[in-house]
Amino acid sequence: MNLEQELKLQAWLDGELPPAEAARLAQTAQDDPRARQLVAELTAVKTALAGNELERKVPDTREFYWSQIQRRIQREETRSVPVATSISALLARWRRLIAPMAGALAGAALLVVSIRQSVPVPAFVETTVTSSDFDALTYHDQSSGMTVVWLKYREQEPAPSEEAPDIFDVR
């Protein structure tokens, strides 16, 4: 006799089976000695429990009594969830979000970079402006990579002279 048959016998004793199956099990309980023995044990236990169960009177009504139990169970369930578990669950949820977020950010970054690269950058042009007292002449020496801006005082035409104002006085 296996566990399923034992459970069936218990259900039969408790009157939980449909009539056809109940009749079949009643026959089994008569024919099978092991089944008969189990039925006898179960019946004895049932009788003992039913006969010796203490009757306790609850001062509250039935509905109020069970609602209290239900509330307490709910409270205990809420309390039994540890804080660490809720934090780790939150982290796990974030981790699940990070992958698509990272992908979206990478895509956005690629888009911005490609847009930036498609915008033409104006070429850098070396320019020089002078005060109204000076003229500028620019000279490029490609071999040495040197650019010279020659600043000439306007009153010094055509060549530098000793009368030119000495505003730099390098010596």
Binding site: A102, L110, V125, E126, T127, M146, V148, W150, F168
Partner: protein
């Protein structure tokens, strides 16, 4: 009356976790390249030399140390002797401006435009003389120059001293 139930926890797939980690790293790299790079111009280290050019044999003790400078100047101008009067070095942050006193009467204001470019304003005796935007990229340098007394000339040579730019 016993019953039993067994549960098997499914192990997390390492391959999926690896993919997620790579995605995170990629996103971080993109964001770094996007926002950290172009937003701030790099610092630039510049050297400015005030040089006096003449055909007189004076100031021979103050010869320009870098012969490439004198060679380039001698190739372009008529003067044979070049004396180094002042040597100034400055590190200018991105978009920052710094004033360099080259002589009691001459100063330059240098603004870092980023990407090896600078804007230089030249002042003589406190008065504005010139302003220009110049490149100090690798191998490039520029010179502000003008005539001086006794058929001589002054030169302000500027170049980058960054590891990647200038000489």
């Amino acid at each position: 009356m016993t019953s039993s139930r067994t549960t098997e926890s499914k192990p997390a797939e390492p391959r999926l976790r690896l993919t997620r980690r790579w995605l995170q790293i990629l996103a971080a790299l993109f964001l770094t390249a996007l926002f950290a790079g172009p937003t701030r111009a790099e610092d630039i280290k510049i050297e400015a030399l005030l040089i006096w050019g003449s055909n007189l044999d004076t100031n021979l003790n103050a010869k320009v140390q870098d012969t490439r400078v004198t060679e380039a100047l001698a190739k372009a101008f008529k003067w044979k002797n070049y004396s180094q009067i002042t040597n100034r070095t400055a590190i200018i942050a991105g978009d920052a401006t710094q004033t360099l006193e080259m002589s009691p009467k001459c100063s330059i204001k240098v603004k870092n435009l980023g990407a090896g470019k600078v804007q230089v304003e030249c002042f003589g005796d406190g008065k504005f003389v010139s302003r220009g935007d110049y490149s100090l990229a690798e191998g490039k340098w520029f010179t502000l120059a003008g005539p001086d007394k006794n058929d001589s000339a002054w030169f302000i040579v500027m170049r980058s001293r960054n590891p990647k730019g200038g000489d």
